[in-house]
Symmetry: C2
Subunit: 373 residues, 2 copies
Amino acid sequence: MKFEVLLRDPKTRARRGRLHTGHGVIETPVFMPVGTQASVKSMTPDQLRHLNVEILLCNSYHLFLRPGHETVARLGGLHRFMGWEGPILTDSGGFQVFSLSSLRDISEDGVRFQSHLDGTTHFLSPELAVDIQMALGSDIMMILDDCLAYPSSHFDADRSMKRSLAWAERCHAHWMGTRGQTPRPQALFGIVQGSIYPDLRKESADRLIAMDFPGYAIGGLAVGEPKPLMYEIIERVEPYLPEEKPRYLMGVGTPADLVEAVACGVDMFDCVMPTRHARNGWLFTKGGHIVIKHSKYKEDREPIDSTCGCSVCQTYSRAYLRHLFIANEILSSVLNTIHNLYFYLDTIRRIRQFIEFHRFDEILAETRRTGAH
Amino acid sequence: MKFEVLLRDPKTRARRGRLHTGHGVIETPVFMPVGTQASVKSMTPDQLRHLNVEILLCNSYHLFLRPGHETVARLGGLHRFMGWEGPILTDSGGFQVFSLSSLRDISEDGVRFQSHLDGTTHFLSPELAVDIQMALGSDIMMILDDCLAYPSSHFDADRSMKRSLAWAERCHAHWMGTRGQTPRPQALFGIVQGSIYPDLRKESADRLIAMDFPGYAIGGLAVGEPKPLMYEIIERVEPYLPEEKPRYLMGVGTPADLVEAVACGVDMFDCVMPTRHARNGWLFTKGGHIVIKHSKYKEDREPIDSTCGCSVCQTYSRAYLRHLFIANEILSSVLNTIHNLYFYLDTIRRIRQFIEFHRFDEILAETRRTGAH
C-alpha cells in the first residue's frame, strides 16, 4: 500500500492525499460508508458506484459470527462475496466485542465473549483478528485493541493502552509472518489509544510508530466525551503521527466533525451516521437536518435539499419521502440512504476541492459559523 | 387508449398486441408489477426501468387512505409523486375493501368500511372510486365491483354480479361525464364477474360490452377455487369478450398461470407473487423455486438460476443471498425482488416472442410437461 500526500493546506493541518490499494486508488480525505454485514444497508453495489463511493468499511465481528470468515474465504473473499470490487477496510472486531457482546473475560491473551446473536462463546486473540481479516481479504486491516469506556481513570487508561500495545505487537508479528500468502497485499493499521490523556496518547503513538505500520488510526474517541475534548485530543495526537502515513479517525462523525478533523490532519473517516439516520428518516441538508416523518412535509413539493445534486433530490418531493417513511416502505430506507451518503460524500469532495484551491479555511470558518451538525 | 392485436397464434387463442396509453406503449401480453402504496416494494423506478417494466399497478384503496388521493393530485399526480413516468393501472379499491378492511355495510349505493390502518370509517361509491383514480391520474382505471368469496351459491353470485353491473353503469356514466377534464386520457375497464357460473359470466360480459368499455377484466378468480376450474372459467369467458379490446386477468398468478391464461386469450396480468415471495426468500428458477434460507446454500457459489440473465444472477452467489436473508439485510429484499421480477418479465417476453414465431404452443406444452409452478 502506497500513500502520497499531494498537497498541504497552508493555513491548517489539512492534507490532500492518495492511497493506493490492491483494489484501486482512494483520494483522501475520504469517507468510508459502513457495510457491517457485507452490505451497506439497503444499497446495491451499483448504487454505491453511482455515488462514487471509494472504499467501504466492513465489520469483522459480524462476519466472523455470520456467515464466518472461512466461509467467506472459501467463496472467494469478501469483495467477490458482496459484489464490491473497490477497496475494503475491515475493523478488527474488538470494538463490537466490547460494545455488542456479553464480555466473558479479557486477558493478556485476548478476549473471550458471547455472540450477541446466539450466546455462543468465542475467543478473539490478536492473531485470530488478523487471520479473520486475511480470510476476508480486506485491503486495510486493523489491529485488535482494547476498547475503553469513557470516562476512565489515568490508571485504567494506561493499563488498557499497554494491553493494546502488546496486542499491536502480536498483530504486527502475525501479519509480517503471513505476508505474501494472500492473493493481494493487505495493509495493517495501528490504533493509537490512551483515552483523553496526552501522555498516554504519546506513548501509544511512539511505540506503534516504532513497529512501523502502513497507517495509524486514532481510536477511543466519539465514545461519549464532549466534542471540544475530542477535537483537542485529535489536535494533540496529530503531531505524534508520521507525516507520510495515512491517519484514520475511527467511527467519527458528523459532517462538522469531518471538517474539524481534516483541519487537524485526518485523512480517513467511517461512521454509521448517514446510513443509520437515513433509515430513521433523519436527513442531512446544508441548512441542518430534517426529520422526514414530520406532518409539515405532507404536501411539501420541495426536494430534501434544493441545493443537493443527488438523484433523490432530482426526482422526489419531501411529501413522497414522508409517505414512504410513514407507510414503512423499504424504498424509504433506500432513497434516504442514497441522499445521506451523497451528502457525506459531497461534503468530503468539497473538502478535497477546497484543499486543492488552498481555500480549506473557508469551509472550516463556514462550519464554525453556521454550527451545522 | 388504442389497442391493436398484432398477431394471433394459429394453434391457441394467444395474441400479441400493443396498447397505447398517455404514458407510453405497452407490448402485450404484459405483466404488471404491483406498487401497492406508490412503490414496488424495495425497488427504485430506475431499477424497474432497467428491468424493462412496462406498466405498474397501484392500489387505490391504500393511496386513498394514505397519503390520500387529493394529496397525490395536489402533488401533481401519481406518476410524478412516485417518479414513474411509464403507464400505471389502478384498481378501484374494491378488492382491498373486501379483503383488508372491517366491512361495515354494503348497499346498492356503495360500501362503508373501516380502514385497516386506524379503524376510521369511509364510504366508497362507484363515483368516488372513479374520482380517486382520476385524482391519481392513472392511465387505466378499473370499475368498482362487488367482490365475492369462493365458494358462493348461484343465487349469491347472481345478486353480486348484478350489483357489480349497476356499479359498472355508474362508474361508466361518471367517467363519461368527466372525460376531458384530466390532463391526459384515462381509460376505464369493466370487470366481468359471475363466480364459477358460466351463465352469470356471460350475462356480466354481455351487459358490460353493451356499455362499451375500452378493456375488460376477468375478476373474481384466484380466490381459492381449484386451478383447473380457474382455467375453465377463463376459457369459457374469453369468447364472450370482444376481439379488439384488451383482456386483463386480475391478480393472477404463477408463471404457469400466465402461460395457460395467454393460451386462453388473456393480454394483461398483475400479481404480488414475484415481489412478495422475494421478500420471503422464495425465488423462481426455470427448474422450480428455491427457498434461499435453506442451509444447503450456505457455501453455494452458484447463482439462483445459472440460465438467468438478471443482474443478480450475474453477480451474486446463493451463499451471499442466503447470508443477506439470514442476516435480515434490506438488500436481501432488493436483490430477490430484482431476480423474481426479471423471471416474470422474462417469462412474459418469452411468451411474446414465441407468439411472434408462431411457436407459442411449444411453451404451453413445456409448461404442462414440466408442471413448473
